[in-house]
Assembly symmetry: C2
């Protein structure tokens, strides 16, 4: 919070002064980018073909979201009024908070998790109740359910979770919805394609379930900023009300139907990542690096006190990682993105060199996943 003293003339909102800051690197990400869980290869060639059809006349026009929302809804077997396209998942999270969270409400999240939940809920001056995972970093199922109170108004759960790659079973997610009928339960399925299990099929059937999806990961469209919320029309009308009608840019809207139609591409890419994930975990075992067995396109590695040295040594080799040491319960952890085989191999080769260079002597990680109601049968290795 250093430097955030109130201006001599104008005070910021108290909630803004108290908000944590989210400062990911916004420039200088040169090299093999294994730091942001992006698609490491490319978007579908059909998408770029469509993008290049953009005309100088077309750029002058305000984007028209509705037609594309109908296409997206049909793709997911939903009605248009159940779907809202958003400026990435960041905006999706913000809009759900803005639609539902009053000042005295509680927002319930697990930690560690995606940082924007706390930022957006905090901005609405709501109390953010955090249920910390135990050392296993698995979803703290029973303690999470027990943390629901009558004041709980919004529950945000990422499955697969970031930065761990841990998942929550459909049964557990639906139990959370049932246990908190007064709350919106937003399930963030940003990493769905790498896992394959979804509650999207329950949208409109479960009255308080909203599902968030992104096109930044498997689809490889992070640059275009497009995400999606799907929920019952009765809830989505409020979310729509707090959104700008022009929140999604026109290039993204032009490209989305092409990306959705090219199912073969995203299926192929997700399969590359599943193969790459196996290879990455094998490689980490061979190196003696502990990790959380992930269901997403990244692996959280337990490095220990030399975490920052490792990130630096990797950067010197042109490979970017993300140090997660400041995430709650993640001291000493570093995250590596899993992409196509070539990038996994380059990542592992650089890891081997870097660990040797920094004199890393191994990190015994012997906790078993306590699971606590999670379906995740796998353990820390």
């Amino acid at each position: 919070m250093a430097g955030l003293v109130a201006s001599k003339t104008v005070r910021a909102r108290k909630a803004v002064l108290a908000m944590p800051e989210y400062h990911p690197p916004l420039a200088g990400r040169d090299g093999l980018r294994l730091d942001f869980n992006e698609n490491t290869l490319a978007a579908s060639p059909k998408v770029i073909e469509r993008l290049r059809q953009t005309t100088a006349e077309g750029l002058t026009k305000y984007p028209e979201r509705e037609g594309v929302e109908r296409i997206a809804a049909a793709h997911f077997g939903l009605q248009a009024d159940q779907v809202l396209l958003t400026n990435g998942v960041d905006e999706a999270i913000h809009l759900v908070c803005a639609a539902f969270l009053e000042e005295d409400d509680e927002a319930l999240i697990q930690t560690p998790t995606f940082f924007m939940y706390e930022v957006s809920a905090g901005m609405m001056t709501a109390y953010v109740k955090k249920v910390q995972a135990d050392a296993s970093l698995a979803f703290p199922g029973e303690r999470f359910l027990a943390a629901i109170t009558p004041r709980t108004k919004l529950i945000m759960v990422a499955s697969p979770n970031n930065p761990t790659g841990a998942v929550v079973s459909r049964e557990d997610l639906l139990a959370i919805c049932a246990a908190a009928p007064q709350a919106v339960v937003m399930v963030d399925e940003a990493y769905y394609h790498f896992f394959g299990e979804t509650v999207m099929t329950e949208v409109g059937k479960v009255p308080n379930l909203i599902v968030a999806r992104t096109f930044s990961k498997a689809y490889g469209l992070a640059n275009l900023r497009i995400g999606m919320l799907a929920g019952p029309a009765e809830l989505m009308k409020y979310v729509r009300k707090v959104s700008s009608p022009y929140n999604v840019n026109g290039v993204a809207l032009d490209c989305l139907p092409v990306a959705l139609a090219d199912d073969a591409y995203v299926t192929w890419y997700a399969e590359q990542v599943r193969v790459g994930l196996g290879r990455m975990m094998d490689g980490l075992r061979a190196l003696g690096v502990g990790f959380y067995p992930s269901h997403a396109n990244f692996v959280l590695m337990k490095i220990g006190p030399k975490h920052a040295e490792l990130v630096k040594a990797m950067r010197a080799r042109g490979v970017l990682l993300r140090d997660r040491s400041t995430d709650p319960g993640c001291d000493g952890y570093v995250r590596i993105t899993v992409g196509v085989e070539e990038h996994v191999e380059r990542g592992l080769a650089a890891l081997k060199e870097s660990l040797a260079e920094i004199g890393w002597e191994g990190q015994q990680v012997s906790q078993s996943a306590s699971r606590q109601g999670s379906d995740d049968k796998r353990e820390w290795e």
Copy 2:
């Protein structure tokens, strides 16, 4: 508010239930689009050339805002920490409200004006105090100043104003800043290029002044969603804090430096509009249609009770107008965008036919602009 009853299970925020809705047409805008004050021709050819260099690899990457912010800041003679790029001006307005407006604060606006000020301030549960223009629709200068109270925390003024095209002098804007040192004064210069007067030169000198700009109008980039806020670093750090680091898409970020560098194009387009504006006002005089003499790329016409009939008759001729009759003090008013000469002539020709078809018998408009501290010496005609 019809249909906006609370869900049986989950209540939206009270502020959201009370919020006015903003429902511009989001589809079906086929024809000559004189309804949204867009550039009626095209973006710079250099911009589209840059856009088409986008690669399938590039699309996978999260956008990097900082480098482009430095370029934009330099273009305006500012420091990078004084500038924030935004997802259009809609987001800019929202972020300023989110950074500064507490629940008990007052936001001060004129009416009629751009609808998003009220929507965004209302979303923060602030009280929105509105100073209605008199029948002249000029800026209500003295009454506006008198409406400032110790609780006034945010003042939002568009100059040129939308939907009127009325302007506020630099002297008046600076007097407002001086009269409300406890408040942020956001001057929205979305239509700056068609007017030519700016307070951008005062950014960083006046401690509570923030200027908003858009690239949707003269630059012709509405489709890409890119806007900008410029203010003292002490205030901008709060606005930056409430913004997502990935709020602006990468295609817009790639194109912005090219658009800024092609000064010749935007200067040329603004000149076309100034010529077109003269021709439009001459044409309206010839037709006997009253209008507010505009400083922007649109003209607010006083049609009277047949306003909706006119819009319909124009649409049948393939020309879209925007009925502003529900704006406060604007009953019977219709707005027409001014573009390049060809589009002005097509608009006027369709107007002549449409007015004849609907049996329009003229509308005497004889109020003089009361001016009230505004620099605008021109009058309704």
